[in-house]
């Protein structure tokens, strides 16, 4: 935790942070706890099978369902990415990295890779910034907070397709409200085709629809962390006359870092996987194609399953590596005591 390591660094009086450091529960002897001990899986000392066959019965449906419909398909993806798969003319032929070199040579795939990079940039930056801002606004109780919280959550709970339909009407080139507003503000001379004409503009506007949907999640995650920050820290800072931006920088941000890490990973993974909004808003154009939409069209319209598998495998690896990486960098346990 930054604040505890450098109590004086930001000129904040060391009262809250200094005492933070000293009160690190020296009386408790260190148990040799594994990193995963919080999961409580280690309570198996003694005879195994104490509960007889019952737990196996209780876990079997889960194991079968996840094994057959999540783990087995993932393994299948990893294997078949190296085969030429054509459902009409079996058997499959081993082609090594053939599928991978084919997709990397495909200009449309490269375009969608670049687009997805933009989706991730816009998606993560906007979602985390907006989500944190909303969480800070809702941190303290006030009259009507419950209603505002419900309103904030609402876009998260709605189907992405519906949101795509609603926003495509807002962006409509001939009757859309966005055109109307921009024209009456004299920001545009005449009505524009927003989606499909310009790459970055298309991506930003489609990304905005996804940001609208996933910001509530980031807000809730950060809000939960904000509410667990002890009030005394703020009071102490107030007594010392710290300005609000200093308080945010020196107390709030360091303490909610794990929550920010989680919100960032969620936004990263969701924007890397953006599909629905692209599919609905960008139906007939490739300007805003994402990896996921390219995978879908390669597989289920061009029926090129091998290349679809290869794309899927690369995207899966990217997702897993990115999630683990960001958590490793940003996530450190916070000790409030």
């Amino acid at each position: 935790m930054k604040a505890a390591e450098h109590p004086d660094r930001d000129g904040l009086m060391p009262v809250p942070t200094g005492s933070l450091q000293q009160r690190k529960r020296p009386e408790e002897p260190k148990k040799r706890a594994s990193r995963w001990a919080f999961l409580g899986l280690r309570r198996q000392r003694g005879r195994v099978g104490h509960d007889g066959g019952l737990p196996y019965l209780m876990v079997a449906p889960l194991a079968v369902c996840i094994g057959a419909l999540a783990i087995y398909p993932t393994i299948l993806t990893a294997i078949e990415a190296f085969f030429r798969v054509d459902p009409l003319t079996p058997p499959n032929r081993f082609v090594g990295f053939g599928n991978f070199s084919a997709i990397l040579a495909d200009s449309q795939v490269r375009q969608s890779l670049e687009n997805t990079g933009w989706y991730m940039l816009f998606g993560v930056a906007l979602t985390v910034a907006l989500g944190t801002a909303i969480a800070l606004l809702l941190r303290r109780p006030f009259r009507g907070r419950g209603v505002i919280l419900a309103i904030v959550i609402l876009p998260w709970a709605l189907p992405g397709v519906v949101e795509g339909v609603i926003w495509s009407w807002i962006y409509n080139p001939t009757f859309g409200v966005l055109n109307s507003v921009l024209k009456s503000l004299h920001l545009i001379g005449q009505y524009q085709l927003f989606i499909g004409s310009h790459q970055i503009e298309t991506i930003l506007l489609i990304s905005l629809v996804q940001v609208w949907q996933i910001t509530p999640l980031a807000a809730l995650i950060v809000l939960a962390a904000l509410q667990s920050v002890p009030e005394e820290l703020y009071e102490a800072a107030n007594v010392d006359g710290a300005s609000w931006h200093r308080v945010i920088r020196s107390i709030t941000l360091p303490l909610i870092r794990p929550a920010l890490a989680i919100a960032t990973v969620q936004a990263l993974v969701m924007s890397l996987n953006i599909f629905t909004q692209v599919y609905v808003l960008n139906v007939n154009a490739t300007t805003g194609a994402s990896i996921m939409s390219t995978t879908y069209f390669t597989t289920f319209q061009s029926l090129n399953f091998g290349e679809g598998y290869a794309l899927s495998l690369l995207a899966t690896l990217a997702t897993v590596i990115l999630s683990i990486g960001v958590v490793k960098i940003l996530y450190r346990k916070v000790d409030y005591s």
């Binding site: 195994v48 194991a63 309103i151 609603i166 409509n172 001939t174 989680i262 996987n273 899927s312």
Partner: protein, 281 residues
């Protein structure tokens, strides 16, 4: 003075947040209640002066504007209700049983199975989409309720398991021990003592799972795109690219928004629990 300034700053910021969250929905609602000519007027009208319900009649196959394109919305509404509900019930049943075993019982391979299931939370749609399509078509389960419900369940289970596992772990074991001392069997303890205590956790899990089920798009797009099983989301995306009036499209969108909106406004406490429990991995 500074205080008043900060206060009004907050109010303005909150107003922007509310506007950002609600305006797109207001706009869809406004359009759905307009006549076609009013919806296509430029510059736009911001309020409806004479609300018209023809678009909603057309959505459900009645009235002058009902058309081939809009047909099937009522059916797809039934489909999504059946699929989301069935997946929720199945997910909850499987997850609650397994989570209790993981939280309280001793058995072989416990750690391995638990981590294997939780690890699938990280998997994106890509990892399983194509193989699941091929498995389901081999089994003849494409375009069936069973197929789509099984796929949903496998997708929703890890999160449900994680939430329910934490719920069970947060219970003090002493109550169950007392029940056992009084002579209750494991199953009796589970049904009579534990389940009533975790009802809030089950409710939160069920609500979040149902909302996920209601919103699914890419899996049903691939696995159930015939009119007998396609959910509202798939149909909506299909008619979006057809030539239907904007009023009808927005009316259909508002219909799809209805159930989740009701859930959010009356049950948002549970959603907050479900989301925050699920995301803090």
């Amino acid at each position: 003075m500074r205080r008043a300034l900060r206060r009004s700053g907050r109010v303005v910021a909150l107003a922007i947040v509310v506007f950002w969250s609600l305006f797109p929905l207001y706009w869809a609602l406004k359009t759905s209640l307009s006549t076609n000519s009013a919806a296509e007027r430029t510059p736009v009208q911001y309020v409806v002066t004479h609300p018209s319900f023809t678009a909603y009649q057309a959505v459900f196959g009645y009235g002058p504007e009902s058309s081939e394109a809009a047909g099937g919305i009522a059916r797809s509404l039934i489909n999504v209700t059946v699929e989301a509900s069935a997946a929720t019930i199945l997910t909850l049943f499987i997850a609650v049983l397994a989570a209790y075993a993981f939280a309280r019982m001793r058995f072989r391979l416990k750690t391995v199975v638990f981590y294997a299931v939780i690890a699938t939370l990280m998997l994106p749609v890509y990892a399983t989409l194509i193989p699941l399509y091929r498995i389901m078509s081999d089994l003849g389960l494409v375009n069936t309720y069973v197929g789509i419900v099984l796929v949903y369940t496998s997708g929703f289970l890890p999160l449900a398991l994680w939430i329910m596992y934490n719920v069970f772990m947060s219970l003090p074991p002493s109550i169950e021990e007392a029940a056992r001392i009084d002579g209750a069997t494991t199953l009796q303890t589970f049904r009579r003592v534990v389940l009533p205590m975790v009802r809030p956790g089950i409710a939160a899990t069920a609500i979040v799972t149902f909302l996920f089920g209601w919103s699914q798009f890419i899996f049903p797009l691939v696995l159930s795109s015939s009119s007998s099983t396609e959910p509202l989301t798939v149909l909506l995306a299909a008619i979006d690219s057809r030539d239907v009036p904007y009023t009808l499209l927005n009316a259909a969108a508002i219909v799809a928004v209805g159930i989740p909106a009701i859930i959010v406004f009356f049950l948002n406490r549970w959603i907050v629990t479900g989301i925050t429990a699920g995301s803090v991995k």
